[in-house]
């Protein structure tokens, strides 16, 4: 084939073009991944010489460090609540916006805007101001005669206040769902119309199954992001109150960059990595039974 021969003739150029990535991958992705595994078995810090300590860091984490167990449980709880809530919102709003409404672009922009800005320090500061004891939300509650809530000071509530900040940023997932909805062939809907299917049946038999690849993609990527979350908890509550929002991201930051216990923090980061791998692995394994691929899962 002609195309093939030209492609082959210039094959060497392919290496030239991907060379930056290969170097970057080796130096800043593969090496760090392996190095942090190595450090996790050492007492690496910025102060002393590296010494091999075997499994000691891992043993200490699970037996002597209540902060670690706490942060692991909080991180998982946060992920299990925030990711489905965020995707549910994204999906619902996308379904509503998909009804050939007028001004859909305006609504899409408004809902999308928070996810453009939400990860920043500035927004976390606003969140803190909104939800503090004398903040805007409590003033509004007071104005309609409701009692103030200790949004940031009550350990049972604080995690949900942070979750709200994440759910508020559902826009990027929503845009993906909207794009997915546009991909569903009109003929499928016409066929169901002829069959006289009701709206709910169309939703559950056509729309949702056709969207499952995007739901799956969102689920995987959002879980990976939320498990590593840092800025929101760091700025809004700084891990408090009473470590109720002390997520693994904060724990790793504290251990590595405040207490200089690089080896110990590497062990925590690898446990977080293993949680991420297990969760995505689980999602991928389950995908066979619920994700519908048009081309039969090629």
């Amino acid at each position: 084939m002609k195309t093939g021969s030209i492609e082959k003739k210039h094959g060497r150029w392919g290496y030239v073009f991907i060379a930056p990535w290969v170097i970057g991958f080796l130096a800043f992705q593969l090496y760090p991944l392996l190095a942090s595994l190595f450090y996790s078995f050492t007492n690496a810090s910025m102060l002393n010489k590296i010494r091999w300590v075997g499994l000691q860091n891992y043993i200490d984490l699970f037996t002597r460090d209540p902060d670690f167990i706490n942060s692991m449980l909080i991180t998982m709880k946060y992920t299990v609540i925030a990711v489905p809530a965020k995707l549910l919102f994204a999906l619902l709003v996308a379904l509503i916006l998909n009804q050939r409404l007028r001004a859909i672009n305006m609504f899409r922009s408004i809902y999308y805007l928070p996810s453009i800005m939400g990860g920043s320090v500035a927004i976390s500061i606003v969140w803190r101001f909104f939800f503090m004891q004398s903040g805007v939300v409590n003033s509004l509650l007071g104005a309609v005669g409701l009692p103030a809530v200790s949004w940031l000071g009550n350990p049972d509530v604080a995690l949900y206040t942070i979750t709200l900040l994440i759910v508020w940023q559902f826009g990027s997932s929503m845009v993906l769902f909207l794009a997915g909805l546009k991909q569903i062939p009109e003929s499928l809907y016409e066929a169901s119309h002829i069959d006289g299917a009701g709206r709910l049946r169309v939703l559950f038999n056509i729309t949702l199954p056709m969207l499952t690849p995007i739901i799956f993609f969102n689920l995987v990527m959002q879980s990976i992001n939320v498990l590593q979350d840092f800025t929101a908890a760091f700025i809004v509550t700084n891990g408090g109150p009473m470590k109720a929002t002390y997520m693994m991201g904060l724990k790793i930051y504290d251990d590595a960059f405040r207490f200089m216990k690089m080896g110990y923090a590497s062990a925590t980061s690898w446990i977080l990595f293993i949680i991420i791998v297990l969760l995505t692995g689980l999602l991928f394994r389950s995908s066979g039974s619920w994700v519908h691929y048009e081309d039969g899962g090629k």
Partner: protein
């Protein structure tokens, strides 16, 4: 005359619009409120629940601008630009070149390399950040912007590479081939034939990377140590931390608006590229 069914349809449509508007208002209320609040005095901020300020005062901006310790916010904005612009520029060029390599050439190990590249999309930053920090420390790059710029030169953003590959796959291969036949080298072909067609994709990458780098907090927090080199994120964080007890909220909120303004302007003037970028590849955030 409207029969009953079409009236029902109109009514449900109307209800949908009302709900969408209400919900939209709740969604952007924090942003609108933030903007309004920056024109209030610190006293008014706590004493009234009113959305609009009693009188428009620019005092929060004037005082806030000078509130960042030894430097003004002008310095922090300049720093943020010094970090962001080279990072964006190199991300765009390196991702485009790498994407070109993957999308248009066949070479040995292309399949496994591509698979690895896609796999790194899911590589969590948290697990590589400590060794990266130690690498940069050993190179003497801490407290400079090199930990941001060098990974950008080396195309360490698989997400953008993937986005470009997806876009390039949509361009017909005949274009490159006729350029080859005319005697262009692959590099020449890329620059003069494909680049112009890739403009929307290049632009998408640039604005996403701009907004993410502009607002990046975690990396700035660990790599930048002296106030002289602080970015806006770090300056804002310093202002809520360092004031010890008394926080002048209206100044901090005013400076938050300053930090959010460039991404907001970019968002509203280039919405098309956001939506295209997202749908081209799927997105984090």
């Amino acid at each position: 005359m409207l029969d009953q069914r079409s009236m029902k349809r109109h009514l449900s449509r109307f209800v949908t619009y009302v709900l969408l508007c209400l919900f939209g208002f709740v969604m952007i209320y924090p942003l609108l409120w933030l903007f309004m609040a920056t024109f209030k005095t610190d006293n008014e901020l706590f004493s009234s629940v009113s959305f609009l300020p009693k009188s428009v005062s620019l005092q929060a901006y004037i005082n806030g601008w000078k509130s960042g310790g030894q430097y003004t916010y002008g310095r922090y904005i300049a720093n943020t630009l010094l970090l962001t612009i080279p990072t964006v520029f190199f991300t765009v060029t390196s991702s485009a070149l790498v994407a070109y390599g993957f999308a248009r050439f066949s070479f040995r190990f292309k399949k496994p390399l591509f698979t690895i590249m896609i796999a790194t999309l899911m590589l969590p930053n948290t697990v590589i950040v400590i060794p990266r920090y130690l690498i940069f420390r050993n190179l003497g790059w801490l407290d400079s912007y090199l930990p941001f710029i060098v990974p950008a030169i080396l195309a360490c953003y698989p997400f953008f590479i993937f986005m470009m590959i997806q876009f390039m796959r949509g361009l017909p291969k005949d274009l490159d081939e006729s350029a080859y036949i005319d005697g262009c080298t692959p590099f020449r072909t890329f620059v003069s034939v494909l680049m112009p067609l890739l403009k929307p994709a290049l632009f998408s990458v640039a604005i996403f990377q701009f907004i993410w780098t502009w607002g990046d907090f975690f990396n700035a927090l660990i790599y930048i140590t002296t106030v002289k080199k602080y970015t806006l994120s770090l300056a804002l964080r310093m202002s809520i931390d360092a004031t010890g007890g008394v926080i002048s909220w209206n100044q901090i909120l005013a400076m938050s608006v300053v930090a959010l303004l460039p991404p907001a302007i970019l968002f509203f003037s280039a919405q098309r590229y956001f939506v295209e970028g997202v749908t081209m590849s799927g997105i984090k955030g």
